[in-house]
Amino acid sequence: MHPALSVIFFTVVSGAGFGLYSLTAILQLFRLGPAMDRSELLSALITAFVLIVAGLISSTGHLANPKNAWRSFMRVKTSWLSREAVLAVIFFPFALLYLLGVYLYGAHVPVFFGLMGVIAIVLGFMTVFATGMIYACLKTMRQWNTPLVPANYLLMGLTLGALFHLAIEAYYGANLQFIIGVAGTALVMTGVMKGIYYFWIAKTSGPSINTATTFTRATVRLLDVGHTAGTFLTEEFGYRVEPGRLKLLKTAVFALGFILPLILIVVAGAADGGAFALTVFAVLSSLAGKGVERWLFFAEARHVVNLYHGAQHT
């Protein structure tokens, strides 16, 4: 699959935003970890909003005909893309009401605003789940057609959210032990999940050139594709990465996305000063790693239409 930068930016950044929003609201509403004051909460929630909105705006970048984008709310009954769009929009009123509650009352929000926060948390998770399902529901790409994909999207969002939260707490000089524990656990879990995913997709399965052409009792070889230059199909689905580069990029995913941030936040917890700088580096490193991860998610997906252009198996 051709990796579209706008979609990569959208899924990583808005995923991080939803993760940060949900995690902050959970920690505050369920009184987990050290108490946060009004300014810490506001910083975290507003950062989350900025990330979500930036991501959503970027998501329209890959549309060939954006003037019809408003119609994408029309098919909630069948389309995960439509569900995601609707959920992302419904999230805002509830999330903004909770933000208003925090703005007015600080850490001790009244029950009504707390309830709005809980609904926003659920909607945030549902939105990220729907983003994952956009890909996981496609039977044409076995690398996407697995429950590991929405699980991965949710965990990635939570991990980045936890790292952002950690950086904001570090900025205010709060006690970091608890949130380092949360972010560390999230990093390890997401890293393991990503490892499982890479293991899972390494095995070839699904349609082959034989079922694609009905000739299941003989070898089938492409003689000619019937066109002299690239087509929409070869441009959109024919994207290939060299195996050597693939390995390098996968190493980068784990090194930048999980291992380096984990080391940085552990050091940040132990060090006397400079915790904020270290956590910012952890966020940046993890963002870079997850950008590469999302790029690979697209670049590695093999659409079955490639079978007709010479691939023997997807």
Binding site: R75, S79, T140, T213, T214, F215, V220, L233, Y308, H309
Partner: protein, 231 residues
């Protein structure tokens, strides 16, 4: 009604006439124009509803060249319709034809991702998704003679390898062909239940040629004369 095509892989000669006829008809049809990019450049490209690929099936000397025309299969369980967020992609209840409403499409490519057959192509000029309409503006045109109310690809095929009809009618030509010659679906394991069917090559016993080639006396004389003249 369940309209669709039957394509005979035995008689298709791979001449691309169906693709050209399709492009010609539909570029001025309901979803046209079908844009051409760099038509006079080094790498001309463009939107086509119908593409023909060529494969070698089996190993030499028991191999055969198969020409493989592919357009929209008008699937019974069309994921391109269910995934579409705008409702631009739809399947007509009355005849099962899958169409794209050009006024609603936002060009997100999602339907093309969902289609395993590569039947949908984004028109980069209009920013909308285009696909085979089964010549919807032709097959229902009552000003045309009955015999002309068929898709352009079917009418033009010089090898008569394409058939159009209603698969719900057991007496239609397409139903009969599928029944008699084991019409196959492409990638049935994905569960899209494509309407279009492909007829496998007929298994023919080779025609013996030894006796045909045996030379007569006249033949031998002709051969000698030919050789002599050639020198």
């Amino acid at each position: 009604m369940r309209l669709g095509l039957v394509i005979d892989l035995d008689t298709c000669v791979g001449c691309h006439a169906c693709a050209v006829a399709c492009k010609q008809w539909n570029t001025s049809g309901t979803t046209g124009p079908l844009t051409d990019y760099r038509p006079y450049g080094a790498d001309p490209s463009g939107v086509w509803f119908n593409r023909i690929r060529h494969y070698e099936v089996g190993d030499y000397p028991n191999s055969k060249t198969i020409n493989f025309p592919m357009s929209c299969m008008h699937c019974e369980d069309a994921d391109c319709v269910t995934v579409c967020p705008t409702g631009a992609s739809y399947k007509r209840k009355e005849d099962g034809v899958v169409l794209v409403d050009q006024t609603k499409c936002m060009g997100c490519n999602y339907c093309s991702w969902a289609c395993p057959y590569g039947a949908r192509e984004l028109d980069r000029e209009s920013g909308t998704m285009k696909k085979c309409t089964l010549c919807i503006d032709r097959i229902y045109d009552e000003t045309l003679a009955e015999i002309d109310r068929q898709p352009a690809c079917v009418i033009t095929c010089p090898a008569h390898a394409r058939f159009f009809g209603d698969f719900d009618d057991p007496d239609s030509e397409v139903s009969r062909l599928v029944r008699e010659r084991d019409g196959m679906q492409l990638m049935p394991e994905l569960g899209y239940n494509p309407t279009n069917r492909y007829l496998p090559p007929r298994i023919n016993t080779p025609i013996p040629t030894e006796d045909v080639r045996r030379d007569s006396l006249v033949g031998k004389v002709k051969e000698w004369v030919n050789k002599a003249v050639a020198r």
